[in-house]
């Protein structure tokens, strides 16, 4: 177990220290006094566990493929940006563009997140990203989404119908699952609501269970409610907008 004090450390120096610790074989790293340092876990491929005490800065876990990062606090923008694998658990709220272009691994957030969550998230074969948000998202959740699963639990609000606007705008793959009903005016133009199938539930059950365990949330309570499934209407949303030049 390696403990790093990040107080007043510039991000480059902090990340050098993390890399040094990982390279010298530590598999458990705790970082204390984190005050917004960027890029923690950037490009790390080793299966290390990193505990962050404080608030990590933007691009936490960007390009990461392997580590498990636990944030004991809130997090900022760009969490899990272009991430390929591993796990990020945030025991708090997070900022904008969480899971941008994420391709694998899991992000679990207890609270709310900002705009454009999971924008352009994609999946390919075994690479299948799962993002579970306990609270609500900002507008444009799942924008341009091409794969993976985004689950929005909306556990803490009083509103029965989920109404963050432009859900799934430009979406052409993957699934968004919302606990409760979704206001149909809030949907992006390219998506439709369908009923949640048993197999969808099976696909995410294990992750929801893990989510609840990691964040100490009552799993049975979560599963009691109805879920709404949002998918894209087509995987070629713009097919008819363009004409091939050679057609006459």
């Amino acid at each position: 177990m390696k403990t790093i004090d990040a107080n007043k450390l510039y991000y480059k120096i902090l990340n050098d220290q993390i890399h040094d610790a990982v390279d010298s074989g530590y598999r458990n790293i705790a970082i204390n006094n984190v005050y917004g340092q960027y890029y923690i876990g950037d490009g790390l491929m080793q299966p290390v566990k990193i505990d962050i005490n404080g608030i990590p800065g933007n691009d936490l876990g960007i390009f990461m493929d392997g580590p498990s990062i636990y944030v004991h606090g809130d997090a900022q923008d760009g969490i899990g940006n272009t991430m390929s694998g591993g796990k990020i658990v945030i025991d708090g709220n997070a900022g904008d563009v969480l899971g941008y272009s994420m391709r694998g691994g899991r992000i679990y957030v207890r609270g709310n997140v900002g705009y454009r969550t999971c924008i352009h998230m994609k999946s390919y074969k075994d690479d299948f990203p799962i993002v579970i948000i306990g609270g609500r998202t900002g507008e444009f959740a799942g924008e341009y989404m091409a794969g993976g699963v985004l689950v929005i639990l909306d556990l803490f609000s009083e509103i029965n119908t989920y109404d963050c606007n432009f859900i799934g705008a430009g979406m052409h793959g993957g699934i968004i699952i919302v606990r409760g009903k979704v206001n149909s005016d809030s949907l992006g133009r390219e998506v439709k609501v369908t009923s949640l199938l048993q197999e969808d539930l099976l696909q995410i059950k294990e992750y929801l269970f893990e989510y609840c365990q990691e964040l100490n949330i009552n799993y049975n309570n979560v599963m009691k409610s109805r879920f709404t499934k949002i998918i894209s209407a087509t995987n070629r949303p713009y097919k008819n907008l363009y004409i091939d030049g050679f057609l006459h």
Partner: protein, 500 residues
């Protein structure tokens, strides 16, 4: 395929294919070679017919016909002559009205905008400064792309850079737009020539990881195929903000081109449209750009230069200045003549500015601000020959990217059909039958020849100027003179008129 006539929206074919029946030996080469189904054979009549509407003018059949029986001609304007309403506009309206969509085209802007390269002339030494014979005296074309700090502290290492044996690289063309064999040919050629190619935004096939020492990997808004290993493979990383052929809009690889192996490189399911959003949604400002640049540097432990590519647009100089200050090691500027795999015609033909003016404006601005040396500049967008390349260097570029010129080497005839995925020359297709038409063993040699010949030409021109190192030509606009340009053009280009 729809090929019945639509009377109200009748669009005359662009080309007429004429086949001399007395020369035709019915070998059917034109039938098998045409990937647009324009030629077919009628067994009963023993006759080769042509569906003129389908001909795209790619001339594949002309090249293959053993008896030179075929001529493909531009069809003259079928509409009544009108100086304001040319056929381009009439057909354009009809096509939009009939299909209810906007036309997509490939390659670069084909409208007759001025070409500034053709209005710039190069200098030569006479009497006072002897010219140099490049065949017998050393000539330095070697170029480094990367940041050059103002000063170094004792013991401090230079920032990472890449070394080019000749200031010509192959610009971003993705695997997906290009066939496997095309990328293979390009990779082998740049390896032999000691320069680099850019992977484009579609990731890299694992079979092309062997070009690690000669590839610049691109990261675009869709982040297709971007992962840690990919970043590690590249010798440099390029963030694509925009491209000259379609500034301000994202990439769009049509589902037809997303084959099994493309889906592997891009890491998306087969047959889905690969849509790159117009902006990077983590970059809304120069500060955000800096964030991505340093995220990439952190991911690769500061071991390779990061290039930022933008399209040449109106306030390009101010943008470039911001990029130079954001920590980028090089800026690549793509002019409006730049080619592409697919772009809405309306954007391709009307958005952006010429690279010549953009390049001069950027170089001037960075010099004025005293930061020109801190970044390299790569110019691209319609470089047609070594003369264009050397003029670009004299205007301020460190190196140039070529794209279309490289495709022409592979056989391209600029038929502008790359987006259909049916390139008859096998260059921009994923059809296994068609893509065999590019033989990497032969094509890499041809492309290598092009690098060699252009390099030799660069040396010849430099020799005539009395310059023995490309370094001393960079941004040396005294070696240029303008003809037929307005005072304002000359001012922006920073060159004197011929005679002065």
């Amino acid at each position: 395929m729809k090929w019945f006539k639509k009377v109200h929206h009748y669009l005359p074919p662009d080309f007429i294919l004429e086949r001399a029946d007395d020369l035709c030996i019915r070998c059917k080469a034109c039938v098998t070679q045409c990937s647009f189904d324009a030629n077919f054979y009628d067994q009963k009549r023993n006759f080769i017919y042509t569906l003129q509407q389908n001909c795209v003018g790619c001339n594949r059949c002309v090249a293959y016909c053993p008896t030179e029986a075929i001529v493909v001609k531009n069809r003259p304007n079928p509409f009544r002559e009108h100086s304001h309403w040319g056929a381009y506009y009439i057909s354009g309206i009809k096509r939009r009205a009939y299909y209810g969509g906007t036309p997509v085209k490939s390659m670069g802007n084909d409208r007759p905008f001025p070409i500034y390269w053709d209005k710039l002339l190069l200098n030569a030494s006479q009497v006072t400064n002897p010219s140099i014979d490049p065949l017998r005296e050393p000539m330095e074309l070697r170029t480094y792309i990367g940041r050059r700090p103002k000063y170094l502290k004792k013991g401090e290492a230079l920032p990472p850079s890449i070394m080019l044996q000749t200031p010509i690289m192959i610009g971003a063309m993705s695997y997906g737009a290009l066939s496997f064999n095309s990328v293979e040919s390009i990779g082998r050629a740049v390896t032999m020539a000691g320069t680099f190619f850019n992977s484009g935004e579609g990731g890299l096939s694992r079979d092309h990881y062997k070009f690690s020492k000669h590839v610049i990997v691109q990261v675009a808004s869709g982040r297709f195929g971007v992962h840690k290993e990919y970043l590690d493979i590249g010798s440099a990383i390029e963030i694509k903000i925009g491209q000259g052929a379609k500034p301000g809009i994202g990439g769009h690889l049509p589902g037809e081109k997303v084959s099994e192996s493309i889906s592997q490189a891009r890491m998306i399911p087969k047959g889905t449209d690969a849509l790159s959003p117009a902006p990077h949604h983590d970059i809304y400002s120069i500060e955000d750009l800096r964030q991505l640049i340093y995220a990439l540097k952190e991911a690769t432990r500061y071991s390779k230069p990061v290039i930022v590519k933008i399209a040449a647009v109106h306030n390009v100089a101010a943008i470039a200045s911001g990029i130079a200050r954001s920590g980028a090691d090089a800026i690549s500027i793509d002019g409006f003549k730049g080619g592409t795999g697919a772009a809405p015609e309306i954007i391709r033909n009307h958005v952006g500015i010429p690279i010549e003016l953009a390049l001069a404006a950027v170089d001037t601005r960075l010099r004025q601000e005293g930061i020109r040396n801190e970044v390299s500049i790569i110019a691209s967008g319609g470089i047609r020959g070594s003369a264009d390349a050397i003029k670009a260097i004299a205007l301020g570029a460190d190196a140039v990217y070529i794209g279309t010129a490289a495709l022409i080497t592979l056989g391209c005839t600029l038929c502008q059909q790359c987006h259909t995925g049916r390139c008859a020359w096998g260059i921009t297709t994923q059809d296994p039958f068609l893509s065999k038409r590019v033989n990497p063993d032969i094509m890499s040699e041809h492309l290598y020849n092009l690098f060699n010949v252009w390099s030799l030409e660069l040396k010849e021109i430099m020799g005539a100027m009395g310059v023995n190192s490309i370094e001393s030509l960079r941004g040396n606009r005294l070696h240029l003179r303008g003809v037929g340009l307005s005072d304002r053009d000359l001012e922006i280009l920073g060159v004197l008129p011929a005679g002065e």
